[in-house]
């Protein structure tokens, strides 16, 4: 797996400027080092899914969220997923914040791109496994999106044993460390029509976001 160059640039707020040799070199170096220093790991488990009003019941895990309920309505199953690229990115960012702030910013962006690529890869595997059973995926949905409370991270972490299995822990404020980590729920449905391929970025309500993907194209 390689760091996605276009995504890295997008996270850096790139708008087609000319990239000089210096900048190019920095981008290449940061990406290469990040690939070397990362240890991608993931864990996911599937549960039966039941949506009642705003309540989603997944085994013993119950969440109240209108947005998530909408996302999972009609799904027979839901996959709980956690993934990380490990501590490398965080250490690089710390180090380069001291000696090379440009490289720190690039590493930050490249790390964000890298974990997204990795989650996409894991999701592709889940999609394949689901397809074999005649199931289709809804877009993934993470704690903190819309009204899906970030506090739910705690329970997800216990269920998935994130600390033991992939080395990710929560801070007091329920943020994940290593920071380049993702948790998400993915609904599985038998109805292909109700599955959805819209990229998660476009679901975000922050329409004036600097990093928002362009509507056209992809």
């Amino acid at each position: 797996m390689q760091v996605d160059r276009a995504e890295t640039l997008r996270y850096l707020g790139y708008r087609g400027q000319e990239i000089d040799e210096q900048t190019q070199q920095l981008l290449d170096e940061a990406a290469a080092e990040l690939e070397r220093e990362s240890l991608p790991k993931s864990v996911y488990q599937e549960y039966p899914c039941q949506v009642e009003g705003n309540q989603i019941i997944m085994g013993n895990f119950t969440v109240t969220s209108a947005n998530l309920a909408k996302n999972l309505k009609g799904c027979e199953y839901v996959v709980l997923l956690a993934a990380t690229i490990g501590r490398g990115a965080d250490f690089m960012i710390k180090k380069y914040s001291v000696v090379n702030i440009a490289k720190a910013a690039i590493t930050q962006a490249a790390g964000a791109a890298y974990i997204e690529s990795y989650v996409d890869e894991v999701e592709a595997k889940i999609r394949q496994e689901a397809l074999e059973r005649g199931l289709y995926l809804r877009p993934r949905f993470s704690p903190g999106y819309g009204d899906f409370p970030l506090e739910c991270q705690k329970e997800m972490f216990e269920i998935l044993e994130c600390s033991k299995r992939i080395g990710v822990a929560l801070t007091e404020g329920n943020l994940m460390m290593p920071s380049k980590s993702v948790t998400a729920l993915i609904g599985l449905t038998t109805k292909e029509r109700e599955s959805c391929q819209m990229k998660t970025c476009m679901q975000c309500e922050k329409t004036d976001c600097e990093f928002r993907k362009e509507e056209s194209g992809a």
Binding site: Y14, L150, K164, G173
Partner: protein
Amino acid sequence: MNVIERAEKEILFFDGAMGTMLQKRGLQAGELPEVWNITKEDVILDIHKQYLEAGCSIVKANTFGINPFKLKDKGYSCEELTAQGIKLVKRAIAETGKDAYAALDIGSLGKLLEPLGDLSFEDAYAAFCPVCAAGEQAGADLCLIETMNDTYEIKAAVLAAKEHTSLPIIVTMVLDENGKLLTGADLEAAAAMLEGLRVDAIGLNCGFGPDVMKEFLPKLREICSLPIVLNPNAGLPVVVDGKTSYLVEPEEFAAVMKEIALDGVSILGGCCGTTPAHIRALVDSCKGIAPLAITEKNRSVVSSYTHAVVLDDRPKIIGERINPTGKPRFKQALRERDLEYIYKEAIAQQEMGAHILDVNVGLPEIDEVEMMRQTVTGLQGITDLPLQIDTSDVAAMEAAMRLYNGKPLINSVNGKQESMDAVFPLAAKYGGMIVCLTLDENGIPKTSRGRIQIAEKIIKEAEKYGIQKKDLLIDTLAMTISTGQDNAEITLEALDYVRHTLGVHTTLGVSNISFGLPQREKINTAFFTIALSRGLSTGIINPGSGAMMAAYYAYCALSGSDSQCSDYINYLSGQPDQPKTVPSGTKEITLFEAVVKGLAASAGFAAKKELEIKEPLDVIDQALIPALDQVGQGFEKKTLFLPQLLMSADAAKAGFDAIKEHLKAQGDNSESKGTIVIATVKGDIHDIGKNIVKVLLENYGFQVIDLGKDVPPELVVEAAREHKVQLVGLSALMTTTVANMELTIQMLKKELPECKVMVGGAVLTQRYADEIGADFYSKDAMGSVRYANELIAKP
């Protein structure tokens, strides 16, 4: 006979999984198993008995998840659940009449330690203490620290166990498929630290079944001089209908475990998915196998949180530059607690090829213990090289050894009784290799014989503490040849004898040899080469000296320790352009151009050139500021993007540093434009945006007080008041932490109504910023500079 003594005579067996058994008995996901010690003690008791009947000799108490974090708001104390957990094991042993040991089972806290996480080392330590104390009190026979994946957390747990019990300690860790801990640490690093801490046995558990775990065994046996423990899962986890299952059957499990026992593992058992049937099969299959004798591997090794550095026939470089001696700029950094300065020295030395970094932060006028604490903690987030803790202050030494994530080098002990009495007990407790100076109450012997005698005395004294020769590094003291013709030979003769006759590794502060002579590097280099060929194991040198590093690589190539001369060739090809002279291809570049193009090395050089002919203020006004403005405008017009802005910022910083140095040399301390406090708000740990703002503000002449990340509102108010600032900058990345930003603003507005607040961060918008009462919303890094300039710098 304690469990370890017995393991030398016969193979011992841990029991199998507790969690798996409890799930079968109705434990729900997310439910705390240890509460059952009280609510369903019959079930726990029954499980223990089943394992005892199956033939296990060590029973893990149901105490794995007990810690203050997991028990928060659960209505039970760590002490009562622990005591009850041990009591149930004891009862099961008594009621079955078996000869078995009760293990206090200590698991991970499930939190990440600093520098990446938000749990401090001492808080982690404190979390383990009550469990350890209660466990021994209730009658545990040993501490099993298991399912660990972070060496730092292991160290906290081991220290808690050592300081609150007198029990044998066994540590088992989880590896990933690459044979590393989840922190990226390799087995050698972990084993080095654990042997240094003098735990009684080490090994692996969880993660894999016996087949995969077996693959890691040869490595472990090669490096480890302690009994080995293996508690694998019944294979890899498989999720069936939302339930995690393990599918390796007892016979299959036992068959591989038997091979493992024959390979020399003396304590075996099971982890997730194993049942009494697995343990029974295991015990049956190992009947008649005697444990292999444990052999001493005699490895001289230090470690960091990621890797070990082994002292062998290939010499190693210890970077000497983190040391204030003779360095006014470094002393100033220490007085100002400018840790960044120290970090830069560390990163530079690592890039130049150092294997270990010496850390000396002693100055008479500072609190060395606190400074050492902060420096070691900070360096562990910046560099993965092992550290050499260099201090004569025993309290500072202990503070650093305690906090150090690995097995450190300690600099130093000497032949004085007082010194040995102080340092050896620390080394015996925390582990470490120790630099031993061959001097004593009578000073430095003038003969090699005298120095050898002191070396022998130190070796003997160390033995009393169980510190073996392999953990000593003898310094036969390089003394300048400007005061004595024979000085070099005396040092070298002693060095040669220590290394080759006594069989102990050696070290030298190489550059002392040339003190008082002109062009010292020439002497240093020659002496270094000679010393290497006479048996120098580690040279304490300045890796910034190209000549010394070249001598080192050349020596390694010549002495046959550099296969195909590949390191030598790599070294030459990897030589960065030295900015000491003009960077290649940039001969005519001006300071203005260097900043616009983002060339830091050239900018520093160009600034020095311009300072030769211009006043410092003119250099700033005519080159640095116009260049920064041009780049800033380009960024705002989107003709440049963030990395380019930041490269220019770093280049400008190099220019400003040159000017500051120039002014300091003239005794001038220029005033800053004004002071700004910045912080990432409480609960938020993503601070790169704030760091970017800091660099830019500093370039525009502001003094920035950076409070860091996860900063409570009170601290922000306190700092703003103390420094009498007009402006505070706050950043927050998450929606959830914007609430804390609002709280901070409210508190600031109440306490310091004159103070303005600017905010920024990924989730913020102008509207959001208005809602929480901020005075200014900075949509990007340049915005903060513009606002600060308007507010503060208006003439």
